[in-house]
């Protein structure tokens, strides 16, 4: 048995909050809040009436509440979730059922399309929507200070991670974002001259 692992068995009912370090496997009933540092598995017979927050969260049972993963959220066959999913990576396998909003990858960190009225969603001009893998690392912004010390993922999804600090109750709230960084950084004054000098 993993020293840091917890398991809430099928006949166990918890009314209250579960939090802390380590992985947890839920097979019973929980009504309250779940927020752990480690991974969470919601088993096939689990009935969770609670927001769930973990590192990698895998759902195979029933959840009424938002599900947040600092690394990923995966709904597998048997999952029945009413609530929003928020994570840098989200997977829904065939058989995984969701009624709610999904925010993952770069779409998850971009402008608040989900909250604009549908008519306004289609822009007048073509939108430069870039492929997930081509987006360059974003420039340092004040937003980065919101990231908690433990979230140290230096990946393209790093702005996505900082969004996870938002309270779970309002996963749709996306801070206003300035124009995306240009792909070519503007050269500082004198840099051009310095480069010419180097080339000689």
């Amino acid at each position: 048995m993993a020293s840091a692992g917890s398991r809430i068995g099928p006949s166990t009912v918890i009314r209250g909050s579960i939090r802390g370090a380590g992985n947890i496997e839920l097979e019973g009933r929980v009504e309250g809040t779940i927020d752990v540092d480690g991974d969470v598995i919601v088993g096939g017979n689990a009935r969770i009436k609670s927001p769930v927050s973990g590192g990698r969260v895998v759902v195979r049972g029933a959840v009424a509440g938002n599900v947040r993963g600092r690394e990923a959220v995966v709904l597998e066959d048997g999952a029945r979730v009413v609530g929003d999913l928020v994570a840098p990576q989200i997977g829904i396998r065939p058989g995984g059922l969701l009624r709610g909003h999904v925010s993952s990858g770069d779409a998850f960190s971009a402008s608040s399309a989900a909250t604009t009225p549908r008519a306004a969603r289609l822009p007048a001009k073509p939108v430069a929507v870039t492929r997930a893998k081509e987006v360059p690392p974003p420039p340092p912004t004040p937003r980065k200070n919101e990231a908690p010390a433990r979230t140290q993922r230096a990946t393209v999804a790093s702005t996505a991670t900082s969004k996870l600090v938002q309270p779970v109750a309002s996963p749709l709230t996306k801070p206003a974002r300035s124009a995306p960084a240009p792909i070519m950084p503007t050269l500082q004054k004198g840099a051009k001259a310095a480069l010419k000098k180097k080339a000689r």
Partner: protein
């Protein structure tokens, strides 16, 4: 308004193609390129970019690399972990009684 073949052939929006407007048809629609607009087909697979709602009579599948913003409706919806998605899913099911049962429908 583009119309797909009402046969077994796939309609493919290629990588270099950008579509603005609605797409609707009976077959399997594959989006490798970029679509801005609502889409409706028997089955829809997205590998490229899509900004709009997706309606399929059968399967909606967002593959790794897809960037999608909009709501998905289908008999079965699958999203690969490498896909980027911002939108709503509205599957038809009931939660167990202890979690609200039928009340779980339509928040």
């Amino acid at each position: 308004m583009a119309r797909g073949d009402s046969s077994t052939e796939d309609t493919v929006i290629g990588k270099a193609t950008r579509v603005r407007g609605r797409l609707s048809g009976d077959g399997h629609l594959v989006v490798d390129g970029s679509v801005e607009g609502d889409v409706e087909a028997s089955a829809v697979t997205v590998r490229g970019e899509l900004q709009g709602d997706v309606r399929a009579r059968g399967v909606v599948h967002l593959e790794a690399g897809a960037v999608v913003r909009g709501d998905l409706h289908g008999e079965s919806v699958a999203i690969d972990e490498g896909a980027s998605f911002d939108g709503h899913l509205d599957a038809d099911f009931e939660l167990p009684a202890e979690l609200g049962g039928a009340q779980g429908k339509r928040r």
